[in-house]
Assembly symmetry: C2
Homo-oligomer: 135 residues x 2
């Protein structure tokens, strides 16, 4: 169960302190850079597509099972599988975003997206279209 | 980027041929079995919770970048990141399900869910609550 990065996030956000807690809370526009070996998989992505992006939150802790949601000590300690904390046994980020630009060339693809809360350099591991009903 | 299974799917579906193509297309009721080391992370899950379950689709191929969606040769060849095919560079399944029973005991947790299309024994790697708006 070894993940292969398919690319990375290129973002003006370079530290966890700057990252929005969730994508809808003011994350900047950023780019998904898809590496050359995977570019054929990205050729049918189009402007306006709503997709789930899966990332590997490489700065997260993996030994956390209970936490105070959103880092607020007044929140009750909560099991991590009832939170969206990046700190979790498998720190996979799930981001629902809209594609606003697509550039494909032989050495890679670049997808401009809004509302993706991840720091610059975060590995991208998958892109999936939404199913009907937002699933 | 090494994934740790947190548990597995227990399902009457034992082969790919039986699995529904998508969860909304007649997948049977099945169970998520959460292993003992991760049970504290599951303690706040409740009946009625809508969650995303992430699985590792261990029977999938990882060398597929373009395919005919839903295995239909009449469908145009499509980049894998515009499909929900299990065959993809990182074969992570994303399943939006509703929890219908929760059993927690010291040696693990069992969550009954509807609409999860995965064969018996599929590793579970994460459970995340939906955010407002189904994100």
């Amino acid at each position: 169960m070894l993940l292969t990065p398919i690319g990375h996030v290129s973002s003006p956000v370079t530290s966890l302190g700057e990252a929005a807690l969730q994508g809808c809370e003011g994350a900047p526009v950023c780019w998904l850079v898809i590496d050359e070996p995977f570019v054929d998989g990205a050729r049918d992505l189009s402007v306006g597509d709503e997709v789930f992006v899966l990332t590997w939150l490489h700065l997260a802790r993996r030994d956390v099972l209970r936490l105070h949601p959103r880092g607020n000590p007044a929140s009750p300690l909560t099991g991590v599988f009832s939170t969206r904390s990046p700190d979790r046994p498998n720190p996979i980020g799930l981001h629902r975003v809209t594609v606003s630009e697509v550039h494909i060339d032989p050495d890679g693809a670049r997808l401009r997206v809004r509302d993706l809360e991840a720091v610059d350099g975060t590995p991208v591991i998958d892109v999936k279209p939404l199913l009907p009903g937002g699933r």
